[in-house]
């Protein structure tokens, strides 16, 4: 394979298998239930037909992927600085990506790709349609070559690349950060409970739904199953069940952490950062530091004791028609670094370690609304209900406990809510349990909104919202005069310079 990709070329021929498998997998996933149903209901006489049908689908997949393979070409237009992809079976599509619009290049390998020995390559841009190029099969050398070509152009356009170039010579390809399995173990024990919990609940609901389907199919006696489950439930006491659930949650958390972040490594490749991690499917991502919009690090109490932080790098996403998971795709998570590693990483992304400047704290009126809507109102409603339904009286303790924890949490969130500003950075601190610090540079600001309620005019309290391409940063209930002053300062910074935001 030629090295400079200047001529249109196809992906590796193994791509046919990968695409076919991918398509078959998608069709299978969509019709799995129908297939099971067909097998069970139609009986042995029709099995041959069903198998024939499956065979036909696989054949169609192969033909489809062969045609796709034939028509999928890509090349690099050196003069125009564009990456051009031609694709489509019936209608021909041409995707043109300007090289300086590329946010990140992902090199992945799933199980099938691992078996065959090829890589998948994906290109993420900040395009509003979310259109991205995905090359399904490419050998390792070409993949890294192509990636190098795709991201290399920035040297000329970005002045900061000079600095990183110097660093790159010092530490060519030696990872600047490597997360050990032991650290990962600690990470798994201390973070991301929320996501794991959501996953567990989703899995639980999914199982119940599927079980119901299967029971329908096999015409099992629902009453029997129900009584068995209930019997099991009474066998263990509630405490034991809660304990089991917690253990399961921790295990899921650990598994997830290991699956995603196994052998997490960050190294510097000239002017971009290479992140690689993954247990079964290894994923490498390349990003250029100047495309990172918001840099965030967070830490909770346990993690503080263990000297561990999680860092996430948020890149530009355009909100339209993008679902939650795609937005997450634009956020890169680096878990379990210590403070020293964090500083190294921040230096790499923001050119220096951000120092906290002048800190602004919110007014005590910050507490009013949450206390009223989240505590007083629900508790009042609860009390009214208790007043009318005397049987609920024993549960009044819950209301008190709720009130106390609620006040505590809101108070902590008030104490932690602050923004610190110096001339190069804006650092917003917030959180209750996980205390996060979001760092942005003023030139990443897209728009600024300030707002004020009429009844806060006399006490000079107002809100601030900084819109960036990767989300918003809010600072609420600050001194409005100070906020206005800050806004004028930031506007001056954004408007006087002509620094690019990506």
């Amino acid at each position: 394979m030629n090295n400079d990709f200047s001529k249109p070329q196809r992906q590796s021929a193994f791509g046919i298998i990968i695409i076919a498998a991918h398509t078959a997998y998608k069709i299978g996933k969509a019709t799995i239930f129908f297939l099971i149903y067909a097998f069970v209901k139609m009986g042995a006489a029709y099995t041959t037909y069903t198998l024939l049908g499956i065979g036909l689908i696989i054949l169609l997949c192969l033909i489809f992927s062969y045609l796709w393979y034939l028509n999928f070409t890509f090349f690099l237009d050196k003069e125009k600085q564009e990456f051009v992809v031609n694709k489509g079976i019936l209608n021909r599509d041409q995707v043109i990506i300007q090289l300086d619009k590329i946010q990140q290049v992902n090199i992945n390998q799933n199980i099938l790709q691992k078996l065959i020995g090829v890589y998948g390559l994906k290109i993420d841009t900040a395009g509003s349609s979310g259109e991205e190029v995905s090359i399904k099969a490419i050998d390792e050398v070409s993949a890294y070559n192509l990636k190098e070509h795709l991201l290399s152009r920035k040297t000329e356009t970005v002045p900061t690349a000079l600095v990183s170039d110097k660093k790159a010579t010092d530490a060519e390809n030696t990872p600047i950060l490597r997360i050990s399995s032991w650290t990962l173990f600690k990470v798994g024990l201390t973070s991301n409970y929320g996501q794991s919990l959501a996953l567990m609940v989703a899995f639980f609901l999914y199982t119940i739904q599927e079980a119901r389907h299967i029971m329908d199919v096999f015409e099992l006696d629902k009453g029997y199953v129900k009584s068995t489950v209930l019997g099991l439930a009474t066998l263990f006491s509630v405490a034991v069940i809660v304990f089991i659930l917690l253990v399961v949650l921790l295990i899921i958390n650990l598994l997830r952490t290991f699956y995603k972040y196994f052998e997490l490594e960050i190294s510097q490749h000239r002017h971009s950062l290479l992140l690689s991690s993954g247990l079964i499917a290894k994923k490498s991502t390349l990003i250029s530091p100047n495309k990172v919009q918001i840099t965030k690090y967070s830490q909770n109490y346990f993690q503080k004791k263990l000297n561990m932080l999680n860092i996430s790098l948020k890149q530009a996403h355009f909100g339209e028609s993008k679902k939650g998971h795609e937005m997450q795709g634009n956020t890169l998570e680096i878990v379990g670094c210590n403070t020293h590693e964090r500083d190294e990483l921040l230096k790499m992304i923001l050119t220096r370690v951000p120092l906290k400047g002048k800190t602004f704290i919110p007014d005590w009126r910050f507490l009013n609304l949450p206390i009223f809507f989240k505590l007083v109102l629900p508790v009042a409603i609860f009390l009214i209900i208790i007043f009318n339904v005397p049987e609920l009286k024993p549960y009044i303790g819950f209301a008190i406990a709720y009130l106390i924890t609620g006040v505590l949490m809101i108070y902590i969130s008030y104490r932690k809510h602050r923004i610190s500003v110096n001339q190069d950075f804006i650092i917003k601190t917030s959180g209750i349990w996980d205390i996060s610090n979001e760092i942005i540079m003023p030139n990443k600001i897209q728009a600024i909104t300030t707002s004020q309620y009429p009844w806060h005019k006399s006490v000079d309290v107002g809100h601030l919202c900084l819109h960036t391409a990767a989300g918003e940063i809010h600072f609420k209930y600050g001194n409005y005069t100070e906020i206005k002053q800050l806004v004028n300062y930031w506007l001056y910074q954004v408007e006087s310079g002509n620094e690019n935001w990506m």
Partner: protein, 181 residues
């Protein structure tokens, strides 16, 4: 690189131009008529729906007075809210940014620097065309919340603002990020 860290320190914050003291242009008074017509149409439709319900549904009939009061109250509240929001609106174009103030209860001001504008849209609705008004939309990369919609500008003015902004965009040499297939 390190030299410039300290050179900038002495900016006098007080001497910076103040966005909050800029005189804001109000939307054209005809725009209030458009709002009224829109509200009127909305309430007409609701009224027709409610009327049909009362005529054909026996059960609802005893509550006619209640429904009518709620209807009128809603109408008054809506008109008042829209009036308040209409009164609060204002926009200004500075040499380096666009300012837009709006809000129903809270008063919020959004400022978009010109060198962060991605693209501009000029919309003319059916009613707006009768009154020769237009609304200008200014998009940034800041997503849904980071974009401005200034309604009720006389169409000639809106067009000149648009051309002015587009000219400035060209000058700034902002790389067009708006479409990349």
């Amino acid at each position: 690189m390190s030299a410039e860290i300290f050179t900038n320190e002495a900016i006098d914050l007080e001497s910076l131009p103040k966005y909050e003291e800029i005189h804001l242009n109000k939307p054209h008074s005809d725009y209030w008529k458009i709002i009224c017509i829109n509200l009127f149409i909305l309430f007409l439709l609701i009224g027709i729906g409610g009327g049909l319900l009362i005529v054909f549904n026996q059960k609802v009939r005893p509550h006619v007075i209640l429904i009518a009061t709620v209807y009128v109250a809603l109408m008054v509240i809506f008109f008042l809210l829209f009036w308040a929001s209409f009164k609060k609106r204002g926009y200004a174009i500075r040499t380096k940014d666009v300012i837009y103030k709006s809000g129903i209860i809270a008063e919020s001001t959004t400022i978009v620097p010109l060198n962060r504008i991605q693209h501009i849209e000029l919309n003319e609705g059916m009613l707006s065309r009768i009154y020769k008004l237009g609304s200008l939309q200014i998009f940034t990369a800041g997503g849904q919340t980071g974009h401005l919609r200034i309604a009720g500008i006389p169409i000639a003015e809106a067009k000149s603002i648009r051309d002015l902004l587009l000219n400035k965009l060209d000058l700034i040499e902002n790389p067009e990020t708006e479409n990349e297939i």
